[in-house]
Symmetry: C2
Subunit: 427 residues, 2 copies
């Protein structure tokens, strides 16, 4: 057998053991009462402060190795931990502890004519695999959400953050032990070998129930293509702002500028502006000029290019592109129908907004755009679990099954039916 | 290129076209109002009666071919249509028409401190693939449920029922056309070639959102192993009745007999009886004797075999087996803990019941058994969408994602978030 094949078998064996111990821990965690889970999170938060020195030392080693390999400055920034960022993680753990426990909640209850009382009750999903890049803080954020929802987590962070993530996972394990819960409930994949990701995507012999990828498009695309277990994710956030015939110009300008420029690198950022031909003469120039003046590159159709010589031609590819940058594609469309057709053809089913004072127009947009989040007279940048009031999120999903939109604690649970009778038999 | 490879490419092309036309139809159906969907179902029901002659003729041809190939009598029975069975299908269509429309229902609504009003609204899943055996009535049942929930359906029935299923699908297409809806919303796979199933399992280039297999374990296992899209299914219904320390003997006898013997071939049938050692002396003999006297084969552990010489030894394999027949495995366990451990080790997470007058014991069983359906003092044979009040079901799922337990209309929908603002931007 080749060395490579032997290595794969070895990694598979290591990962299978991770999966089995996670499953065993999940069974205990599923029955844990809220106080134990909250105490684990709070103890982990305290431990982050108590071990700040070790965390920063590990992070310095990660950073030194990453610098030596010549990574980009933005990569180093995401990898860097500071006392303030450690406090941010600890605050995050406390915030998750303060959230209501979704487990055990009765989401429906009814009684049948034969007297059977049926309840639908939230239960944990089981074991959640999280695959992320070299952002060590995700270790705390994702681990905390999985734990609070009663799940075990198998965390696989970027290899460049291995030492940092290990110290953070240690704090979570410490917290679990303090609360009398199994330390295996939040595990970090114990090898940097990339083959471990392949093992996770194959499902660890039924010991992973869902995988959440957190990172760039390359990571998400690989996970979606190869995973043999369900995935909560979105590949693209190619989001539209449609300025409709009934739009108030001042509101449209304010919403568009926020949707595009507040933060250009988030998945809720707007990537295409659609303007109804009916208001192009009155609205288009101001909308486009605002963006240009703010330093945004504008790629437009023929009519948009007439507005300002700085507008460059948009290609078909631009309508499909999530720029994640200060770039926007702009098109004049024929009414609501034109906007719906464009979004249907080019959209990514993530987040789309209409600006209009016409309620009927808004109602049709909200009913007919097939996206996880549709907004009327509000910025697309509200596409966020925190903004939805979910307290925290592990990501945003554009899949249609189970989780759609912001993935918070509730989406990390499943349910079962609990039926109480008095001796009923079926005729 | 070999003839076999050419055939695969041809089938893939045919199926891709089925998928694309289903997706297009799904977009129209998603926006269809309830009256149109209900009219389509009622018109299809009328059409079944109007074309009864053609349906029976097609069915006779299917039956003749199946007889010639020497299939089992039970297979022929499932394949056979009669005027009464056609009426049963038509009544089923009418019953689905009478069910509430799940699409558009607001399942949650709240307002954020910034004034954003967020609603969570049910929307259709999209395109549902149904793969079933030679039971032509599934064509009507599954097609109707998908249609009512606003989905397009791609139906792939057993090859031996091809002619019968085609006539039934024609009635559904007729109903859709009568109601002004796209006929492609309910399609039957237009080839008997088994390669079509492979195409469906690969997802038809993103044009199938979920697959529902309906049939025996071989079919379900293949679909679960090979599908690249989500599957709603259960492989096994290895269900337990636990007669606990607090069980009333008369109630336990009644529930057990119903759970095992009412119909032995349904997925909600009990397959293993667990009896608490505390009541073995008082309860075990009566429970086992009832079953034996009713013609049930009893395979028991050492203690159960002492009850009656007709009890044969149970093997480890028996604890894992869904007999779907008049056979039961019986074991004496040490209290609730023993029952929980047995079910955790051998169960299939489908349906499990406890019989006890002790509320605390029942509460622990309901909370700790990780099955889609858990019952207290009621027969496992209530595991059925109709019995739950769902009106109809397309199957029972033991997966943890999206659908769990009976899969009715609601489980054939997804949701999105609709956000209404007054110009809010994100700070």
């Amino acid at each position: 057998m080749s060395a490579a094949a032997e290595r794969l078998i070895e990694i598979d064996a290591i990962m299978l053991e991770v999966g089995r111990s996670a499953r065993a821990a999940a069974k205990t965690l599923a029955l844990a009462a809220r106080p134990a889970k909250d105490e684990a999170l709070k103890a982990a938060a305290r431990r982050l402060f108590a071990t700040e020195r070790q965390i920063l030392t590990a992070n310095e080693a990660d950073l030194a190795a990453a610098r030596a390999s010549g990574v980009a400055a933005s990569f180093l920034d995401r990898l860097t931990l500071t006392p303030a960022r450690i406090k941010g993680m600890a605050d995050g753990l406390e915030a998750v502890a303060a959230l209501p426990d979704p487990v055990g909640e009765t989401t429906a209850a009814w009684t049948r004519p034969n007297g059977l009382a049926i309840e639908r009750v939230r239960t944990p999903l089981g074991v959640i695999g999280v695959i992320y890049e070299s952002r060590p803080n995700v270790t705390a954020d994702a681990g905390a959400l999985c734990l609070k929802a009663g799940n075990a987590a198998i965390l696989r962070g970027g290899t460049d953050s291995f030492r940092s993530s290990a110290t953070i996972q240690s704090a979570l394990a410490f917290g679990l032990a303090e609360a009398g819960l199994p330390e295996d409930a939040v595990q970090l994949v114990p090898t940097r070998d990339r083959a471990a990701v392949g093992s996770m995507l194959a499902g660890l012999d039924g010991n992973i129930d869902v995988i959440v990828p957190r990172g760039g498009k390359g990571l998400v695309a690989r996970v979606q293509a190869e995973a043999r277990v369900p995935v909560f994710a979105h590949l693209d956030g190619n989001n539209h702002v449609f300025v409709a015939a009934g739009a108030d110009l001042a509101m449209a300008r304010s919403i568009l500028m926020n949707a595009k420029m507040r933060r250009t690198g988030v998945c809720g950022a707007a990537e295409t502006l659609l303007v109804d031909r009916a208001v192009a003469a009155s609205h288009l120039s101001a909308l486009v000029t605002d963006l240009l003046d703010a330093g945004c590159v504008v790629r437009g159709d023929a009519e948009t290019r007439l507005v300002d010589p700085r507008v460059t031609p948009a290609t078909d590819e631009d309508w499909r592109t999530e720029f994640l940058d200060a770039i926007i594609a702009v098109r004049v469309v024929d009414g609501l129908e034109g906007a719906l057709a464009h979004i249907d053809a080019y959209g990514s089913h993530h987040t789309d907004a209409i600006v209009t004072a016409d309620e009927a127009e808004a109602a049709r947009f909200l009913a007919e755009v097939d996206s996880a989040i549709v907004l009327h007279n509000a910025s697309t940048q509200f596409a966020d679990g925190g903004e939805f009031g979910f307290g925290a999120e592990i990501g945003i999903a554009t899949g249609r099954l189970h989780a759609r939109g912001p993935v918070g604690l509730e989406q990390l649970t499943t349910f079962n039916y609990r039926v109480r009778g008095t001796g009923q038999t079926r005729p």
